[in-house]
């Protein structure tokens, strides 16, 4: 008979709006579940039989929506929802609260994407079922960070005791801030922050690192000078609209493009991450390098969403208990 561990039990019925809603123990459980799911697809294929997920996408984000939906389908559940163009006819200008009160009657769990910051919290307060934030404006996108963590976990077997380079736009990249803050909760990470001076990491994020005794950071502007030190390199897009003039953009753009020439200076087992979609910041020739981990990140995102959806529903993964106990014993 399966019994929930405290870390599992505390997730049942929970809405996940920011990663602060999850304890380090919760996140560790999700990482273990994702790893289990990856190697036991058939065993978990009926975990959520009879369940229905609603994907309420008030702005289009096809990648994220497909990931949430595939996750539920692979667990045996069903999916309903709306996205983008269908929105007006579905909600007819209705408030988020009213829509969620209605949809709660139909489904067992909701994933919501909305352009307004804080929309997922409004949804969670109105809903009678768990709500997962699939991105609320530039605010939070917790499952992206879970995908990043799962990729580090799968490459290194851990998410700390690592030197992690973050490269590109460190001012506006919310995925970077969320990843840094979450890694600080695990501790023992050395951050190398690689950006032009115009796109440095905000002070509140640096304060978060400073407040974590086991973590440290270094700010540099040259990728090639530090790439050899890194266990993982997280690339982000340097967007043209962040620059005041074209010259600055063109000058800086190439400095922050990762190609095979730069990769030649890196450790043989360094992992390259990117939240995708990329534009030109990772050259195509890197894709075939075994260090490229960004398409794995997409898979890990789906696995973490499977772990999260089943966890908030309280649906146990058949065989996971034994797997975890074996891990502990080993």
């Amino acid at each position: 008979m399966h019994s929930h561990t405290p870390a599992e039990q505390s997730m049942v019925g929970m809405s996940v709006i920011t990663l602060d809603d999850l304890s380090v123990a919760n996140i560790t459980t999700l990482l273990n579940k994702a790893r289990y799911i990856d190697t036991h697809r058939r065993e978990v294929a009926h975990t959520c039989d009879g369940r229905v997920l609603a994907t309420l996408f008030y702005e289009p984000s096809t990648r994220t929506r497909l990931s949430f939906e595939t996750a539920m389908l692979r667990l045996g559940g069903q999916v309903i929802g709306f996205a983008g163009a269908q929105l007006a006819s579905v909600t007819k200008g209705e408030s988020i609260s009213d829509t969620l009160k209605t949809v709660s009657n139909y489904v067992d769990v909701v994933a919501i994407r909305h352009p307004k910051e804080g929309a997922a919290l409004v949804a969670a307060e109105a809903a009678s079922v768990p709500v997962i934030n699939a991105g609320d404006g530039g605010h939070m996108h917790p499952t992206q960070t879970l995908a990043d963590l799962a990729t580090l976990q799968s490459r290194f077997g851990r998410v700390n005791d690592l030197t992690i380079g973050l490269c590109g736009d460190l001012t506006f990249g919310r995925t970077v801030h969320s990843l840094i803050e979450t890694l600080c909760r695990f501790g023992n990470v050395r951050f190398i922050l690689i950006s032009p001076k115009e796109l440095r990491t905000p002070q509140y994020v640096l304060n978060r690192i400073n407040a974590t005794p086991s973590c440290s950071y270094e700010e540099v502007s040259d990728l090639t000078s530090v790439i050899g030190d890194l266990d993982a390199l997280y690339m982000t897009r340097v967007q043209k609209e962040r620059f005041f003039n074209e010259d600055d953009y063109l000058r800086l753009r190439d400095t922050y493009i990762l190609d095979e020439a730069k990769l030649a200076l890196a450790k043989p087992d360094m992992a390259v991450l990117h939240p995708l979609p990329r534009v030109n910041e990772i050259a195509k020739d890197v894709d075939n390098d075994p260090r490229a981990a960004y398409f794995e990140q997409v898979k890990n995102g789906m696995l973490m969403r499977m772990a999260l959806e089943s966890s908030v529903l309280g649906d146990t993964l058949p065989g996971f208990d034994a797997f975890e106990n074996k891990e502990v014993a080993a």
Binding site: I96, K116, N207
Partner: protein
């Protein structure tokens, strides 16, 4: 500067210089219908300059939570029969509902009808009030 002292009422001292009118506004004290004296931008040992608000009305009640939001350095003297009978300092409330409005145009509170404006005290980096929904820092 000489300002007649009061008999029965309240003196709010150490108000940040130049903010007395805003403080009255947040405290919902109407200067048009209240017997009060304002001393603005006067010398302060502690802060260089400060404002002082003197209210002649024994029934005046000050919401110390609200005062903490807009003037956390302020002190409150309760005056009875021309003497100070009580001294109070404002508190920093953990949660503030419908006192401040979020200034972030991307915040859900700008579009969702019937929603409370809720701010929480964030101590992670000093003491700031942040919108419960978008985490934007409050502006006063």
């Amino acid at each position: 500067m000489e300002v007649t002292s009061i008999q029965d009422g309240i003196i709010i001292d150490h108000v940040p210089a130049g903010t007395a009118l805003k403080v009255l506004d947040y405290l919902s004290i109407n200067p048009a219908s209240t017997k009060l004296a304002l001393i603005m931008n006067t010398d302060s040992h502690r802060y260089g300059t400060k404002d002082i608000i003197k209210i002649e009305d024994p029934d005046t009640a000050i919401d110390l939570d609200v005062l903490g939001l807009v003037a956390r350095s302020a002190t409150v003297d309760v005056i009875h029969g021309g003497r100070i009978v009580d001294k109070m300092t404002p508190t920093l409330p953990e949660r503030v509902v419908n006192v401040i409005t979020c200034v972030n145009p991307r915040c859900v509170t700008t579009t969702e009808p019937g929603i409370d404006q809720v701010f929480y005290l964030d101590r992670t980096d000093g003491e700031a009030y942040r919108c419960r929904y978008c985490d934007e820092e409050a502006e006063f």
